[in-house]
């Protein structure tokens, strides 16, 4: 049997998901011998879009798509990959839910361009030149740029078979996911590749796991206020940790070093809208309703990684 073919594409991402695959280190060497990398742009393999476009439909076994869909180029390659890949995986929280860069949907493209290219203090742009989709240089050389659009998660553009959360996915989780793909032990199509437990269930600060009763948060604190007690649940201390609704495949890495979970792992199974379920979980952990007013900027806190997957976020007052 020939080796399974793998494609990896970095769309509107930072390259962190590529790094998490590189972090497999020795395991990657084993994986590389059983996999044939058909396309990995732009970070690892030197393949061009036209090479990918020339491949027959369905010729790639597994496609990993990292980053959100932010411009016409991403959208085009997403469609090409969907055609070429038998299984397409939204790899990392950006592809799965829109990611931190999904927060651009709070603003219009015009507002963003105006801030980035005109309004900022350090910008010197007297002619107010903005990026153009196409431009003719010297009257004969046509230059093009992909057109910006609202941030989308991958499944708003093409159907997706599986989702992997994390920003980036922890390498032990990647190893499990890759193993599941290679051995064919995959969950039903359309689901997340996850162990299905929340961060709290693997967090050693969880009072329930220590046999202690849960208590309400009496204050709301920002991360820079005071030093958290390393043995007490961050939520109980008032640091708004989204562990209760986030997949714990990371092994509770952030709370273990006293950093509250921000929800990059994606929603635990059964949750459609991460931000709203987080509102529900956090609000019921507070001691009284006045504390609600002390939470600064709920949108950026609860939808930090998932705004494009929110229904209410689809219609923003601009």
């Amino acid at each position: 049997m020939s080796k399974p073919k793998l494609a990896f594409y970095l769309a509107g991402g930072c390259g962190g998901c590529d790094m998490s695959i590189v972090d497999l280190s020795e395991a990657l060497v084993d994986v590389a011998t059983v996999l044939d990398i058909a396309f990995w742009a732009p970070t690892v393999a030197d393949a061009k879009y036209k090479d990918l476009e020339a491949m027959p439909s369905g010729s790639i076994d597994v496609g990993l798509f990292s980053g959100n869909v932010r411009n016409s180029e991403h959208e085009h390659i997403a469609k090409v990959l969907r055609d070429k890949c038998k299984v397409l995986i939204a790899f990392g929280i950006c592809a799965a839910c829109g990611g931190i860069k999904g927060l651009v949907n709070l603003h219009t493209t015009e507002q963003l361009l105006e801030t980035a290219y005109i309004d900022t203090f350090s910008t010197d742009n007297p002619d107010k030149v903005l990026p153009q989709v196409s431009y003719v240089e010297n009257g004969k050389y046509e230059l093009t740029l992909p057109a910006l659009m609202d941030s989308k998660k991958l499944d708003e553009v093409v159907p997706v078979d599986f989702y992997v959360g994390g920003c980036p996915p922890h390498h032990t989780h990647v190893a499990k996911a890759v193993n599941a793909i290679l051995t064919g032990q995959l969950p039903p199509a359309g689901s997340w590749i996850t162990m299905g437990k929340a961060v709290c269930e693997v967090c050693d600060k969880n009072p329930v796991l220590q046999g202690k009763p849960k208590t309400f948060a009496k204050t709301v604190k920002r991360i820079y206020e005071g030093n958290p007690d390393p043995n007490t649940c961050l939520l109980e201390q008032g640091y708004l940790c989204l562990g209760p609704v986030t997949q714990g495949d990371c092994g509770s890495k952030c709370p273990s070093v006293d950093i509250p979970c921000r929800g990059c792992g994606g929603p635990i199974p059964g949750v459609k809208d991460f931000g709203l379920r987080a509102v529900s979980a956090i609000a019921s952990m507070l001691d009284n309703e006045d504390l609600v007013d002390q939470i600064p900027d709920p949108v950026h806190l609860f939808y930090r990684y998932t705004l494009p997957s929110s229904f209410l976020g689809k219609r923003l007052k601009r």
């Binding site: 709203l276 509102v279 529900s280 507070l286 309703e289 949108v299 609860f302 229904f311 209410l312 219609r315």
Partner: protein, 137 residues
């Protein structure tokens, strides 16, 4: 056909739902635009329910629960108000008119209050117009 509001009332079975029942027994009228969904407790109401109601075209959502101290499950309504307040802040930031969602405590004996609250809320939603997710303002 002229637009008629569709209002979803999520009512706690121990108080507001009983209040609605009493309003009927006492022949207090309230607008036919409201559609009551019975829940075990106002603390059962997830913010996702409200978003889902908007998604399916509700123009306004009213949540009715027990007065403080009256909750059948002791603290469900305290949870409800904390969730509701936080959801309202989040939804406002996302561009939803906060006037479209309302939380009120209506006990089983307040049939009159139920009919008044429904009439007021219906009037308010008529003023606000159709659900923004259906193309309204």
């Amino acid at each position: 056909m002229a637009w008629e509001p569709r209002i979803i009332v999520i009512a706690c079975q121990w108080c507001t739902y009983q209040g609605a029942d009493l309003a009927g027994s006492l022949r207090y009228s309230y607008p036919p635009t409201i559609h009551i969904v019975r829940v075990p407790c106002s603390g059962r109401v997830e913010p996702e329910f409200i978003a889902e109601a908007f998604r399916r075209g509700a123009d306004g959502i009213f949540i009715g629960g027990c007065h403080f101290g009256d909750c059948h499950y002791k603290e469900g309504n305290y949870k409800a108000i904390r969730r509701f307040k936080l959801f309202k802040r989040l939804a406002t930031d996302l561009g939803v008119d906060p006037e479209r969602i309302q939380l009120e405590w209506i006990s089983g004996s307040e049939g009159k209050r139920f009919s008044e609250a429904m009439t007021e809320f219906d009037a308010k939603i008529r003023e606000l117009g159709p659900n923004p997710f259906k193309g309204g303002a």
